[in-house]
Assembly symmetry: C2
Homo-oligomer: 362 residues x 2
Amino acid sequence: MKERIVVAVDAMGGDNAPGVEVEGAVAAARRWGVAIILVGDSARIEQELAKHQAQGLSISIRHASEVVGMHDSASDAVRKKKNSSIRVAFELVKQGEAHAVVSAGNSGATMAAGMFVLKRIPGIDRPAIATIMPSIEGHTLVLDVGGNVDCKPQHLAQFALMGQVYARHVLGKADPRVGLLSNGEELTKGNEQTREAHGLLKEAPFRYIGYVEGRDIFKGSVDVVVCDGFVGNVVLKVAEGLAEGIGAMLRREIGGRFLAKIGYLLARPAFEAFKKRVDYAEIGGAPLFGIEGTGMICHGGSSPRAIMNAIGQARQSVAKRVNDELVAQLRTTAVAFRTKGAGSAGSGAEVADQGVSEQRSS
Amino acid sequence: MKERIVVAVDAMGGDNAPGVEVEGAVAAARRWGVAIILVGDSARIEQELAKHQAQGLSISIRHASEVVGMHDSASDAVRKKKNSSIRVAFELVKQGEAHAVVSAGNSGATMAAGMFVLKRIPGIDRPAIATIMPSIEGHTLVLDVGGNVDCKPQHLAQFALMGQVYARHVLGKADPRVGLLSNGEELTKGNEQTREAHGLLKEAPFRYIGYVEGRDIFKGSVDVVVCDGFVGNVVLKVAEGLAEGIGAMLRREIGGRFLAKIGYLLARPAFEAFKKRVDYAEIGGAPLFGIEGTGMICHGGSSPRAIMNAIGQARQSVAKRVNDELVAQLRTTAVAFRTKGAGSAGSGAEVADQGVSEQRSS
């Protein structure tokens, strides 16, 4: 990677913007020597930047007068707020001033703006958002969690294609195992959607291992798990909800017991190590696949560490030329993966509309 | 409940049959004075029964020469193995010799046999299996987890109806909150299936609270969560897999640390209390809804305690006349809940077939 990688950071996106974004960006610039363009209210960004030792780091500011709120619709981001920080960030990529965008803002708006400004990769009908979940063995990539509900089998096949390229080149899995999420491993299981998708995927030019179950996500027996955005959201929310629930129930049980409290204190280093192991901040964000550029979407409540790691992941994605690899594979992949008109990039706006509502809290 | 409740126990179903079934049945008979008919290989059952103090308990044996294996198809249970323990158990209910069936066997076969022998309740198109998941506040009923994939909106509405009756009369929830599982709480979310189902459910004669997310299952903010059997299986398997994964990761972290080990020992009573709190054996089994009788389906690897508690739940379900209540509510419920021909019970065989494969490991 001779050329210095430039990441445009939507400084106004997160719940604690721009402070968290600026701190995370400074950390990433220092750690990886990546160039950062902070996009948003320049006065407020300068104020935050002044709090850090940013001398010698390649950090610039690009003013954007508008902000897309968590409750704005994605189409606002695309059509009305032409000078929103997220849209301007993607414009920087379009103009070749930046390689990637990182945002902790409205994920639907981020996805819609990315599609609208950068267009979809020909051959990909629906951009997707992937989440990286912890497993006993490491991590498992699950997509779509971006709200692509009512998917066609071809969409699932395309998600699989995008997921395995990312797993291979960014997550460092030599020959990623790709599974189709179903209600059982036997081929007699599944629904109409998965049965048709299986028919496409068994011809795939990558390592497709067939149906997998929800438990496989955490067993480390699969690297990329493919499902539609409705099911993907259920997976994500069930996992988050159960983890929180277990924590709350354990605290309640321990809280009432003196010895248990002491025991917990003694065991705390183990719990801390475990927390770190499963902390999304260590991963940073969720990659946005399928647009002509690189995007990372972070939790609205991201910590500076999460922002830093998301920038690191975006850097990896650019350095490993994930999209070039994806385009190359699409060229050689069975036409069956394509749906009619998938070749044409389209304005993204109509896709943004279908994606609008589903995206907001994904 | 003047009349003594009789539960037919499929003694041959589970992985450790008939030992576990017999032990659990003896415990239930002793605890609740419920009458038990153990169905299966009489010689082997007598052998097991001899190991327990069953004097004075109402426990009888009904011989059945065949067993439906975990890998038999549901239609085998219905058509070929006419003398299988699970089918004979349901015949006992049909002949009025028993009120309920409890089985730790092949759940698809149990569902199919129940449908074939006892028929569906008129107005219910698809019998469903519900799972009772732990929440911070108590428990949440989730259905369908029985493999009804590709559900019509009416099917989801019927699941909701059955679930709230059970929650009210067996789980003791005064006015159960029923939610439709979706990818977000806003009505702009959901897929075609949930949007249509919402249209039906907002007219429901019970407390329908709209869309809920996967995390709500564990928050105690909803009592009955409705989804199709594909999504329900994903919820179940993700929860099981994550719980196992968290346990394994924590053990690994604690294992490497001396003080943490001591801490864990001190905290163990809290962990044990927590385990008990979330142990499915404390609940026993998953109720089978929608057939003209009462059925409880247990894990294949059930403990005697799980079998005992499943018998206890079946007893409650019979004592509270859950099916009578369901039929009464169906009479007064909007026709919109019905699909064509839902009124006719049908032989169950064709439904068994549609359910065959999906049911096996559910």
